[in-house]
Every structure is written in structure tokens, then in C-alpha cells.
């Protein structure tokens, strides 16, 4: 195991965070940054995976799951999050859904020198929507996922966890 792998965010760590926080359903669309996590989730019999064809759909599905008494989490990419602006506004913020969105941070380079505008606009988008966000790059940051869940519950609003794992390379 090299240094980058040792520092990386492991799927087991993320799954443990989901369990600790009582997640029942994952509403997701595949993205390159978090593929490693999907493979593990698919083997967990206690998690229901709801695949969507467009990220905005995940917002209304998550809202319905919450309305029906479940605790959903969303897994999408920053590109899809930005396209989902009106669904985030109407279905998550408007209905006061305390959901955590785990968002693959495409283009993230840690030091802010971006070659990918998906990264350039990600945090600006979140600030425009007044959505709190936490950056997670490796296992050492994983407690921030629980912080996000706690804040979502306290504020009854969506909270984002940005997965800056691209720094370590796609699909290890």
C-alpha cells in the first residue's frame, strides 16, 4: 500500500458512517469518484439502493422516503448536483428534508488549481444555495460525515459531504 492509498477514504469507513447514522436507503447515480463505494453497498442487505437516471430525481425520491419515515442519503456527482438546483430548492430545502448528500467532487485538486470547471463552481454553487458542506478526502476526515448528519438533523436542511477522492485517482 502506498502513501496515497493509506490516506484514502475507504469504502468500509463510509459504510460504517452510514450505519452509525441510521441510513436506510441510498438514492444514487454512478459517478467516477465514488464507484468503489457502490460496489460495497450493493453487497449490504440492509441498505436499499434506488438508482436514478438524473440527479434531480434523487431529491424528490429522498423527500418521499423521508416523508414516509425512512432515512435516505444521496450519492451523486457535483456535475449532477449543479443541474439539480431547482429540485434541491423545492424538494429538499422547501420540504425541510434533513438529508446528507455525498457528492463526488469531480475536478478537485486540493490546491485550487482547477482544470475542470465542475470543481470551479461546486463550492460557489453550494454557497449560493446556503447549503453547508464538509470536505472529506480520506479516512482521517470521516468523522465529518457524522457532523453532516447531525447538522442536517438539527437544521432540517440538506447538508453536503464533498468527496475529494479524485485526488487519489479513479477507481483504485
Amino acid at each position: 500500500m502506498n502513501d496515497a492509498q493509506a490516506a484514502a477514504l475507504s469504502p468500509e469507513t463510509v459504510l460504517r458512517q452510514m450505519k452509525q447514522n441510521g441510513v436506510t436507503d441510498i438514492v444514487w447515480l454512478p459517478d467516477s469518484e465514488t464507484n468503489w463505494l457502490y460496489l460495497l453497498m450493493q453487497t449490504d442487505p440492509d441498505l436499499r439502493l434506488v438508482g436514478v437516471t438524473r440527479e434531480g430525481h434523487a431529491c424528490s425520491i429522498a423527500a418521499g422516503l423521508f416523508a414516509g419515515g425512512r432515512k435516505p442519503m444521496m450519492l451523486i456527482q457535483n456535475t449532477g448536483m449543479m443541474e439539480s438546483g431547482d429540485s434541491i430548492r423545492g424538494w429538499l430545502i422547501g420540504l425541510q428534508v434533513p438529508v446528507v448528500l455525498m457528492v463526488g467532487y469531480r475536478g478537485y485538486t486540493r490546491h485550487g488549481v482547477n482544470a475542470d470547471t465542475a470543481a470551479t463552481y461546486t463550492e460557489r454553487f453550494l454557497m449560493a444555495f446556503n447549503i453547508s458542506f464538509y470536505l472529506v478526502e480520506g479516512d482521517a476526515d470521516a468523522d465529518r460525515i457524522s457532523v453532516a448528519f447531525a447538522e442536517a438533523e438539527k437544521t432540517q436542511r440538506p447538508v453536503v459531504v464533498l468527496v475529494g477522492d479524485e485526488y487519489h485517482g479513479f477507481n483504485r
Binding site: 438524473r54 429540485s87 420540504l95
Partner: protein, 195 residues
């Protein structure tokens, strides 16, 4: 063509203890029922009612869920049909009120308004049962069987448009609860009346 009010009244007779998301039929449904198990959300963001109803159906598998969707919403989220079909909630009854126009913006036609076969699209996406009706008598005749059998089922109903041209600020407000209150009411009611 049918009248929207007649369609929702007919479905109401077969509702039982179903959770109802009235969608674009909200003003009519509000005259029929306004309990914690009715979810008149207005229009949180166009195209999302089917997703919301799917989420409720998955969360409450022991209760039937009835959705009154619209063709404008559906066209905005056709991919949702594949997601619903994959999840295949047996308690999900998906009605689409097809008036061929964007009624709340003045009645402009939806793309290819008169030639889209929504039931065929739903069936192609994987719904095991899909129907289309243009006449009330046929709708009323088939409805008991549709509601008795398991979902997911898709029912497209051609309805007369109810076009609104008044500025939004001058329109009659029929909603009695805010959308977040509707969700909170349901969550509270499910705790005291689990299925």
C-alpha cells in the same frame, strides 16, 4: 376527454386507506379529502411528483400510494419511469392526467401533445401494467380491477385543460397547508397509525 374532477372522484371511491399525492389535481382533491394521509404539495419543483410518490411507496410498503401526475411533469422526468419500474413497488398507482398543455402558464401545448402514448412509454420502461383512457365510462368500468391488482400500475387519462391566465398573485389559493407542514403531518400520523 374527461373532466379532472370526475377522474379524481372516481379514484377516491376506491382509495381505501391509500396515501394520496394529488399533484396537479390538488384543488379538486382538496374538496374530497384533507387529512394527514393526503399530500397536497403544490408544485415544489416541476417533474418531481413521481419521484416523491415512489419514495413514499417504498417507505410505506403496506399502504397503497396513489399519485395524480401530469404529462408535463412526466415529460420532464421520463427516466423516472425506469427507476419506478426497477423498484417495482406493488403498492404504487400512478395516474397521469394528460391535458396536452401547460395549463398553469396559459395553455401552451406540451411537445407533440396529441401524439405521445404515455402508456406505451411506461410499458416500455418496465411497468407491468399500463392503461390509457379517453372516456369516463371506460375509466370507471376498468378502475375497480386496476385498483384491486398489485402495482406498479400506470394509467394515462385524457382530461380537459383547466387553463389559468390570471397572474399568479391573483389566483385563488386552495392549499390549506404549506408543503413542509404536509410532510410533517404525514410523519406524525404514521407514528400514531402505523400500517
Amino acid at each position: 376527454m374527461m373532466h379532472m374532477a370526475d377522474v379524481v372522484r372516481a379514484v377516491a371511491e376506491h382509495r381505501g386507506d391509500a396515501l394520496v399525492i394529488p399533484g396537479r389535481s390538488g384543488r379538486h382533491w382538496a374538496q374530497i379529502s384533507e387529512t394527514a394521509f393526503d399530500l397536497p404539495l403544490g408544485d415544489p419543483a416541476m417533474g418531481g411528483h413521481a419521484g416523491f410518490a415512489l419514495g413514499v411507496a417504498l417507505a410505506q410498503p403496506n399502504r397503497r400510494v396513489v399519485l395524480f401526475d401530469s404529462e408535463g411533469d412526466l415529460l420532464m422526468s421520463l427516466g423516472m419511469l425506469a427507476t419506478i419500474a426497477e423498484q417495482a413497488p406493488a403498492n404504487f398507482y400512478h395516474f397521469v392526467l394528460d391535458n396536452e398543455v401547460y395549463a398553469t402558464t396559459g395553455g401552451q401545448p406540451v411537445p407533440n401533445a396529441k401524439h405521445v402514448a404515455y402508456d406505451l412509454i411506461a410499458r416500455g420502461a418496465g411497468y407491468p401494467r399500463a392503461f390509457a383512457f379517453t372516456e369516463q365510462y371506460a375509466f370507471n368500468r376498468e378502475l375497480p380491477g386496476i385498483m384491486r391488482a398489485p402495482g406498479p400500475v400506470f394509467v394515462a387519462a385524457k382530461v380537459y385543460p383547466e387553463i389559468e391566465n390570471e397572474p399568479i398573485g391573483k389566483r385563488v389559493r386552495w392549499r390549506k397547508r404549506t408543503a413542509d407542514k404536509v410532510v410533517a403531518d404525514l410523519r406524525g400520523a404514521l407514528l400514531t397509525s402505523p400500517a
